[in-house]
């Protein structure tokens, strides 16, 4: 089967890297070539080190096209960590641009018919919990994105984000299926090479997470000569109010569109977006559900909230809601239907009927667009540094609180080496007593509020 064929009937260039460019009509031939070693085999589970190279991108798309299951690995992870994931899920093949397709296991998997893609849920805390997605999820989300971003074949995207990450991948999917061109690079926005490509390739869409917007501000994007850039998108955690207003103002002045978006890997990528005309005027607002999706709010008893200004859990329904999670091989065979996705985020409706994020139920934060479980970070800090440490915080700001004397330097160095968290994103504070809830658990909310007051 060529499952992607119906979505790739376009003309012109589809993918380009610094050496090669491929037209849409050439893709099928390259897919076939990628999968030559798998000829005659049933559906396989293939772990792909998804660097932003043309080779890895073709391998991934070839798997989708042929109906194999692609498990995407962060190519930058330590070899041992990648090997552990490959072994844990008994992947049949392991692909990297260096070693190409290498046979790992002849294990005969029972893979659910719909299963097409597996993406990691969290950064580098080491949990092997994967989000499982279908081709239908991918296509549906890409089509919604094409519709609200109005992506046309004349558009040109660049891989400013890693492709093993759902937001990065959604940029590829949406442009590819819209017949637009995607420029593949692993250069960072802080690199000279990236900006050379932006200019030479007439890039029209730039996608970035909050940490990158901080870099773009530092680079004074507003002073660069980028006449072809028409659209900027932001996702991957909340953008600070100051950066949101800064880029919204600039976008308005220079007739560019700035989309603040909201999503989760569990929804393939995108869930909601704020219309660019509202950017900068409504801080913290994520707007409306993407086309084809539905957002609602539930109170603590699980009842629907319809009134404005009442906080509840944000839940989402749409064809892009994942099949489910998998933490082991046996969970790949069958996925009970998920009616709606509980996002774990708290939100309310404002007077215009737009959704505003107001908090988070789950103990999760995003640092540089990477999701971290605070409970896991806390556990690792207690094992690796001091048993008295507690982890909390908000996006782009990890707070480590200690009861008693500790070395700030040691904690920051530990986080840097173990999780690649830069010290500028970490604050270490000391307190004499931990605030506790009536059930004896740590009162993280009070702790966070106190630390904000202390900083102010």
């Amino acid at each position: 089967m060529n499952y992607l064929a119906p979505y790739l009937h376009h003309s012109g260039i589809a993918l380009i890297d610094n050496e090669q460019q491929l037209t849409f009509s050439e893709l099928a031939e390259y897919f076939a070539h990628c999968l030559l070693p798998l000829q005659g085999k049933p559906r396989q589970l293939i772990a792909i080190e998804m660097d932003n190279s043309l080779a890895a991108t073709l391998m991934y798309l070839a798997c989708l096209d042929a109906g194999h299951v692609a498990l995407l690995l962060d190519a930058k992870q330590a070899h041992g960590q990648k090997a552990a994931t490959v072994g844990h899920f008994q992947a049949n093949y392991w692909y990297s641009s260096a070693t190409e397709l290498a046979l790992q296991s002849e294990f005969s998997h029972t893979l659910a018919d719909e299963l097409a893609l597996m993406l990691a849920t969290s950064g580098s805390t080491g949990t092997v919990k994967y989000v499982c997605l279908s081709l239908q999820n991918i296509i549906s989300n890409a089509q919604s994105i094409i519709e609200y971003l109005e992506i046309s074949p004349a558009d040109r995207a660049i891989t400013s984000l890693p492709l093993h990450y759902s937001y990065g991948l959604s940029v590829l999917h949406s442009h590819l299926f819209a017949g637009a061109k995607t420029v593949l690079t692993s250069e960072s926005v802080m690199n000279k090479g990236f900006w050379a490509l932006m200019k030479e390739q007439h890039i029209s869409h730039l996608a970035a997470v909050p940490a990158q917007y901080q870099m773009l501000a530092r680079l004074r994007l507003e002073q660069m000569d980028l006449p072809h850039l028409t659209t900027l998108t932001q996702a991957g955690g909340r953008l600070s109010d100051s950066l949101a207003s800064h880029f919204a103002t600039w976008a308005k002045q220079s007739q560019k569109r700035f989309f603040i978006m909201y999503g989760q890997t569990e929804a393939t990528a995108r869930i909601a977006y704020l219309h660019p005309t509202k950017a900068g005027t409504k801080l913290g607002c994520i707007g409306q559900a993407i086309p084809g999706g539905k957002l609602s709010l539930l109170n603590e008893s699980g009842e629907l909230i319809t009134a404005t200004k009442q906080q509840g859990e944000l839940v989402y329904q749409g064809d892009n809601v994942m099949l489910g999670y998998a933490s082991c091989v046996s969970q790949l065979s069958d996925f009970p239907a998920i009616k709606q996705l509980h996002t774990g985020d708290l939100a309310y409706l404002d007077d215009d009927g737009d959704f505003v994020i107001s908090g988070r139920i789950k103990r999760i934060i995003k640092l540089q667009g990477v999701r971290f479980s605070l409970d896991e970070l806390e556990q690792r800090l207690q094992q690796g540094c001091y048993p008295t440490l507690v982890a909390l915080g908000e996006d782009e700001n990890l707070l480590v609180v200690s009861v008693g004397d500790v070395s700030q330097q040691e904690i920051k160095q530990f986080l840097r080496l173990t999780f690649a968290i830069h010290p500028s994103l970490v604050q270490v504070t000391q307190i004499s007593d931990l605030p506790l809830l009536s059930n004896g658990k740590i009162d993280y909310q009070t702790l966070l509020l106190n630390s904000k007051v202390n900083r102010a």
Partner: protein, 79 residues
């Protein structure tokens, strides 16, 4: 502190490496500690410490410790 000492201190802080490792030949993206995040932190600290505003081209051209010194010299920072 001389300007050179300041420079080494800022590199060491932003990259979280020992001051002895901040040598002229040290290059951006050749060690895991000098990644894009560290580079941004470094630029912010250089701008604050030396009270300058670097041009975009200078920010993305600052590919080594030697190059940083060369670029800063153009902003009248003497080494």
């Amino acid at each position: 502190m001389t300007n050179n000492e300041k420079l080494i201190h800022l590199f060491s802080e932003a990259l979280t490496i020992a001051p002895e490792l901040v040598v002229d030949s040290l290059q951006y993206n050749t060690i895991p500690q000098w990644d894009s995040t560290a580079h941004m932190v470094l630029i912010a600290q250089l701008e604050a410490e030396f009270e300058i505003m670097l041009d975009t081209d200078d920010i993305i051209d600052m590919s080594s410790v030697a190059k940083a010194r060369e670029i800063l010299a153009r902003y009248d920072i003497d080494f």
